[in-house]
Subunit: 205 residues, 2 copies
DNA sequence: GTATGCTTCAAACGCCCGTTTGAGCGTGCG
DNA sequence: CGCACGCTCAAACGGGCGTTTGAAGCATAC
């Protein structure tokens, strides 16, 4: 499944991400993960200490990447003096598209992220809040500048709504089947619609 | 945990719903469920056949209720000739608030629903599509009448976004902590903000 | 060449899982 | 009464779980 020239550690992370996405954290066993990674069972505990810790590492790896890219995109947008709501939303949404697909048609990390929300695990939530929060606050202030009449509490509610819609749209949870398009196409379209929708939603009076 | 005068069947369903919400379908064991319900372990297989089937029954019970209430509310709204977008959205969102809380602070069925989305299980999805789909189509046509200029594909995308945001908001997945309010208050507020946001999003051009 | 330290390996640990079994229970009908 | 039926129960089934162990491999440094 994984090319043998990648490190054991990395192959475990890749397989774990794909299997957690498909079967959930409790539903995917270390035996499945290590088999998919062509790695000995004990390697997980050797490299990560425990399953719990492996889950955290799966997150850290991608969230760091996601946050970095978002903030980069935001900085680029804010450098342009005429930037609008759509641009900031794009900086928020677009990076989530990139780190998405795994090699075998799964939705990869975005779906893991959705799992994590659903888990409602306090530890995971704190971890996400710590790593996510500062970046989110930067976006909030970028939005606040573009929506000077919007109450701060109101803005935070709406950003939460955008995050939720983003997560669900990216993970392709919708009830409506859209035939003949790839997962990647689906997510591009979803991003497009989401940005338009969210821009109007944020401007609501 | 459950009053003893309820039937074994019902106590199992209640406990299962709460535990599936908290720990997921794979994460909550039948031993936990039956212990919480003060019921013999074998009772699950006696009354439901299998764990898989228990999960389905947990859904059927609430989804039937939810769909019925939504369609009732929609009918009431459509009876008024001057109804607007907010009213239809209210009919869609409000019933989700009602069937929410379990007795011990958990978020109950709404969180189970969010789990189901995250599971991405084909069988569950088909089940939801079959039971959900017709009602969703009724709402779609109610929205379409109020948004005559909106392309049909576009509308479906936006309704998917609304569903995602609704699920996410109801299950209280947000990153932002809001102190000093109960789960119920949180959901009332979430519904209010969601409706305002979604109405504007649906009207986006 | 041998000692060192990181990594991999097969095997085993005890535990919990979903499910099945067959005996036991109470109720109500013939 | 007796017997059938719906339900509950404790116990056991095989199997999969996360984790631990100690030996084996294999480079690098001395």
């Amino acid at each position: 499944m994984n090319a043998p020239h990648f490190s054991t550690r990395q192959r475990i992370l890749d397989s774990a991400e794909a299997l957690f996405a498909r079967h959930g954290f409790a539903g995917a066993s270390l035996r499945q993960v290590t088999a998919a990674a062509s790695v000995n069972l004990a390697a997980v505990n050797y490299h990560f200490g425990s399953k719990e810790n492996l889950i955290n590492e799966v997150f850290r790896r991608r969230l760091d990447e996601l946050t970095t890219q978002r903030l980069q995109a935001l900085a680029a947008v804010q450098a342009r003096p005429d930037h609008g709501l759509d641009d900031v939303l794009d900086a928020f949404v677009r990076p989530a598209l990139v780190l998405v697909p795994d090699e075998h048609g799964g939705a990869g990390f975005v779906r893991v992220l959705a799992r994590a929300y659903a888990e409602h695990n306090e530890q995971l939530r704190k971890f996400m809040h710590d790593n996510y929060g500062p970046a989110l606050r930067q976006f909030a202030s970028a939005f606040a500048k573009l929506l000077p009449d919007l109450d701060k509490q109101e803005l935070y509610w709406r950003l939460d709504i955008v995050s939720g819609a983003l997560t669900y749209a990216m993970a392709d949870f919708g009830m409506i089947k859209r035939r003949g398009i790839s997962e990647q196409q689906h997510r591009d379209l979803a991003a497009e619609h989401l940005i338009k929708f969210a821009a109007a939603g944020l401007r609501a009076r």
